[in-house]
Amino acid sequence: SQQGEEDPQALSIQEGENATMNCSYKTSINNLQWYRQNSGRGLVHLILIRSNEREKHSGRLRVTLDTSKKSSSLLITASRAADTASYFCATDTIIQGAQKLVFGQGTRLTINP
């Protein structure tokens, strides 16, 4: 079963606008991560936020985490055409030292020039 559920499933905006994607999850987490996937490629790690953190920034990315609501959001500011991709949240738990990720279904983001 999927831990994370993302909203919206698809988002289309104009270049330069901000894009916000949301992720909800069901159980307690260790960390929450966001990944990007360009069409036909593997996933690329964007940012990790720990369960005791509320907000984290990396360049044009801002991630928030609300553990009381079991939700996270990813904000991409000043979007560019190159940001067109699918974005996935993933919760992780550590078992036998291995990091088991459970992914959401993803948000397909399209940036229109």
Partner: protein, 110 residues
């Protein structure tokens, strides 16, 4: 790309045939993972390995087996492929809290 390669990159096979996918990494990572990606499901963990000969099941392990006889190779086997196993398969390693993914194998079972 953390030195991860997958082979083959594309494969078409028939129902009932065995299929083995290979994941190869060059940087001596201990933890390796196999996922499948299907429309509407995101990525789902099939099996993972926490060392040579040490593996465990993930979320969707039925119909799959894995082996890891040496650090650099993690093999995923479909003993008798079914059409429901048509998917894109990704291998990954974990390092410092992140996972790094291979380029994927597109498998079609007719």
């Amino acid at each position: 790309d953390a030195g991860i390669t997958q082979s083959p990159r594309h494969k078409v096979t028939e129902t009932g045939t065995p299929v083995t996918l290979r994941c190869h990494q060059t940087e001596n990572h201990r933890y390796m993972y196999w996922y499948r990606q299907d429309p509407g499901h995101g990525l789902r963990l099939i099996h993972y390995s926490y060392g040579v000969k040490d593996t465990d099941k993930g979320e969707v392990s039925d119909g799959y087996s894995v082996s890891r006889s040496k650090t650099e190779d993690f093999l995923l086997t479909l003993e008798s492929a079914t059409s429901s196993q048509t998917s894109v398969y990704f291998c990954a390693i974990s390092e410092s809290g992140e996972q790094f993914f291979g380029p994927g194998t597109r498998l079609t079972v007719l």
